[in-house]
């Protein structure tokens, strides 16, 4: 069964590119356009990995990450945070909240694909 990847970002064009990229890798993909919708999808659809933007309306990526980590039912879910804010403090915060990886926008798609692949391999 193919792995599930949830993409949460409020930028439609970034969603389009990431959705194409993840589907091309053979993953089953769902998208959410803000933090609240992302959190709901994480709870109901139970993806194996979440690509999570940080700055979003309604609920930030940090909030979603924290909520996922605080919920035992979602244990083991991989989280890759994607942000256009690349300051060291932001990276540190994301990792401290339990993200597995943190990529700064604009990122290399090859690097992103590799990170996702590695994390999903480890999750087996």
């Amino acid at each position: 069964m193919s792995k599930r990847v949830l993409i949460v970002d409020d930028e439609p064009n970034i969603l389009i590119s990431l959705e194409f990229l993840m589907k091309r890798e053979g993953y089953e993909v769902q998208v959410a356009r803000d933090g609240e919708a992302g959190w709901e999808a994480a709870c109901t659809w139970r993806p194996d990995l979440v690509l999570l933007d940080v700055m979003m309306p309604r609920k930030s990526g940090f909030d979603v990450c924290q909520a996922i980590r605080a919920d035992e039912r979602l244990a083991g879910m991989r989280i890759v945070m994607l942000t256009a804010k690349g300051r060291d403090t932001d990276v540190a915060k994301g990792l401290a909240l339990g993200a597995d990886a943190y990529l700064t926008k604009p990122f290399s798609t090859r690097e992103l694909v590799q990170r996702v692949r590695d994390l999903l391999e480890d999750a087996r």
Partner: protein, 277 residues
């Protein structure tokens, strides 16, 4: 002696206040740079990702490739607009801003801004209601700058309303100001989370980052866009009264439908024969 001591204490208090203000400005400037960086990186992300996807997939079908290339072009245009806006702000800072006031029909400008912002609103699934008078309303302003301000406010509103449930209103209203002079107000209103009451007086200040009610943290894009919006008004030479004596045009936003914004006036005046540079 006592007198000297009092005056020294007073001087110390004043210095402390100035120091605190400078530190606050420094922090706001850092936040502003961070916000601008974010705004610039976002279109770059789509451009890079789609370019790499196309590079790595030479067999991609033509329709898909065309869709991606269209996005790349659109994001490049967005990037250009952002860079131009930042340059505008830099010009204002250095006192080299130029504006060109003419007699402008504010209703027509509002209509054009609504048309230009429509794709952004549609993308977000937000509904735009335009409430404009039938007759033209003439003001003295830089039409391009005024339109840019309205577009900034509309696209900012689009970002903060809930996806698929958003409603944005662009409204031009006339009323009577103090002394009986006719006034015009342009309002952009939305049903997003709103700007906290205590922040409402300062959201158009340079470098200011807003905070949404829901998250309490700086909201994406807001600080940058509001600074740019106000700066554009300044470029138009028609900003807030406190900035320029000959100010005539202001634009207000309201995120909280329950508390309408203070109305800041545009004073209409009949088309003049001559135009001011």
């Amino acid at each position: 002696m006592e007198e000297k001591s009092r005056s020294l204490e007073q001087a110390t208090r004043e210095l402390r206040a100035v120091n605190e203000r400078l530190q606050e400005l420094d922090r706001l400037k850092d936040d502003f740079v961070s916000s601008v960086t974010h705004e610039l990186r976002t279109p770059l992300t789509s451009i890079r990702a789609l370019a790499e996807i196309m590079r790595d997939d030479l067999q991609m079908d033509a329709a898909q490739r065309t869709q991606f290339l269209d996005i790349v072009v659109a994001e490049t245009e967005r990037l250009t607009r952002l860079v131009n806006q930042v340059l505008d702000l830099a010009k204002i800072e250095s006192g080299h801003a130029n504006w060109s006031d003419t007699d402008v029909d504010v209703v027509a400008v509002a209509r054009q801004a609504a048309r230009a912002a429509e794709p952004v609103l549609r993308e977000r699934g937000a509904r735009l209601d335009v409430e404009l008078p039938d007759a033209p309303l003439w003001v003295r302003a830089d039409a391009d700058r005024l339109q840019q301000v309205l577009m900034n406010l509309l696209s900012n509103a689009a970002k903060f309303v809930s996806a698929e449930r958003g409603r944005v209103v662009l409204r031009v209203v006339t009323h009577v100001g103090s002394g009986g002079a006719p006034l015009v107000t342009v309002e952009v209103q939305d049903n997003g989370p709103g700007v906290p009451r205590e922040q409402q007086p300062v959201i158009f200040e340079k470098f200011r980052q807003g905070a949404t009610r829901s998250s309490g943290r700086p909201a994406r894009g807001w600080g940058c866009r509001s600074a740019l919006a106000s700066s554009s008004i300044l470029v138009a030479g028609c900003g807030y009264d406190r900035h320029r004596a000959r100010a005539r045009v202001s634009v207000s936003t309201c995120r909280d439908a329950a508390t309408p914004p203070p109305r800041r006036p545009i004073r209409p005046h009949p088309p003049a024969q001559e135009t001011r540079p």
